[in-house]
């Protein structure tokens, strides 16, 4: 196993947990509730109704962000901004193939996932850029999306330092991924 540090058992164990966690909760939570005398189905429906209200409350926030992002991306403005960064990042040793992910990863999870998939298709999943693109994709969450959904759900519009902090973390994660991929696979 390449770059895994010779701990396939540990990895297998973690994967086992991630496969079993949801089924275990689906089994355990209602069973434990029933045992404690909770009217589980009625309580479930009550909570689920709140989930439905939540989905509608998020809609305007999410739509506002995704439409602005769509206009920014589809008109080519995003590409233009990226090409401005190329000289700096190639000096830092960032392969040009993964550079768009620096900008796209915090903005759109779907778009950056598509980009990572494309890089793997073109260069192979086990190539250096393929490994790097998968690492970048997996190492952070989509900042703009998370902020929009989480703050939108409670109607908060003044997000204060959460946005700059989230974006700075994405940049740190990106360069962290470049560094560790050079160390492990370079």
């Amino acid at each position: 196993m390449r770059g895994g540090g010779g701990e396939p058992v540990f990895i297998e164990f973690l994967q086992l947990i991630s496969v079993w966690a949801i089924p275990a909760m689906v089994l355990g939570i209602p069973a434990y509730g029933l045992w404690r005398g909770v009217k589980v189905y009625e309580v479930f429906v009550e909570g689920a109704e709140e989930g439905l209200r939540l989905a509608f409350r998020i809609t305007p926030f999410l739509l506002g962000i995704l439409v602005a992002l769509g206009v920014f991306r589809d008109t080519g403005a995003m590409h233009l901004l990226l090409s401005g960064f190329t000289p700096l990042t190639s000096w830092l040793g960032v392969p040009p193939e993964v550079l768009p992910m620096l900008l796209i990863r915090p903005l759109s999870g779907g778009a950056s996932l598509g980009l990572a998939t494309e890089i793997m298709k073109t260069h192979g999943p086990d190539s250096f850029v393929g490994l790097l693109a998968s690492t970048i994709q997996g190492s952070t969450d989509t900042t703009l999306y998370v902020l929009t959904v989480y703050f939108g759900s409670v109607g908060v519009t003044r997000v204060r330092w959460a946005l700059p902090v989230g974006l700075a973390a994405d940049v740190a994660g990106f360069f962290g991924a470049v560094y560790f991929c050079y160390r492990l696979f370079g």
Partner: protein, 199 residues
């Protein structure tokens, strides 16, 4: 800052399209992404509704309280503004556990539950509290032990070792979360000191 980024994305799109002589692309992009957003929302309503319901059952059964009490000592230093024994701790723990395990579908509904608990402590319902900012700093940088989606995609792309990225992903993710928590701590301290001087 969100206002500025939002306006910038729209304005840059319109200007770039106009300069290139195809301003009609703006309308196309607008229509397409508005439709996509609604589709996205529809695609996650089901799972959101299910997990919000199940979270309520866990709460009614007292599971959230158990979690909150068990992990409060670890979380208290990160969230000094949440009162001892507050249910927000339980929801935050459940969300972070789901995130660490890479259970995205469960993590979001549990995170939204935590946000509504935090909102109940908020004196100004339109403005984020420091606790909310810390919670989101952890969530946007997300420490994931097993990047399940990426491993599956790598396998689908014909990788000989799909899990090779586990180590590099964990390391890069730790860098991101470390950066997020450090900056959040500095921002929180600056605000607190400012409030102290005024009050």
């Amino acid at each position: 800052m969100l206002n500025a980024i939002w306006t910038f994305m729209l304005a840059a799109g319109v200007l770039v399209a106009a300069v290139q002589g195809r301003v009609g692309a703006v309308t196309d992009a607008l229509t397409a992404s508005a439709q996509d957003s609604v589709q996205l929302i529809f695609s996650f309503i089901g799972i959101l509704v299910f997990w919000t319901g199940l979270a309520r059952v866990a709460e009614a059964a007292g599971l959230v309280d158990v979690l909150a009490r068990a992990l409060q000592p670890v979380l208290r230093p990160l969230f000094p503004s949440i009162p001892r024994g507050h249910p927000a701790f339980g929801s935050i723990v459940m969300n972070l556990a789901a995130n660490v395990l890479g259970l995205g579908s469960a993590a979001t509904p549990l995170g939204l539950k935590a946000m509504s608990e935090l909102q109940s402590l908020n004196p100004d319902s339109r403005t984020a509290t420091p606790a909310m900012c810390t919670f989101l700093a952890i969530n946007t940088s997300s420490v994931t032990l097993v990047p399940t989606t990426m491993i599956a995609l790598r396998a689908a792309a014909g990788s000989l070792d799909p899990a090779a990225i586990v180590g590099s992903t964990l390391a890069a993710s730790a860098v991101a979360t470390g950066m997020a928590l450090t900056l959040d701590y500095l921002a929180r301290r600056r605000v607190e000191r400012g409030a102290g001087r005024r009050g």
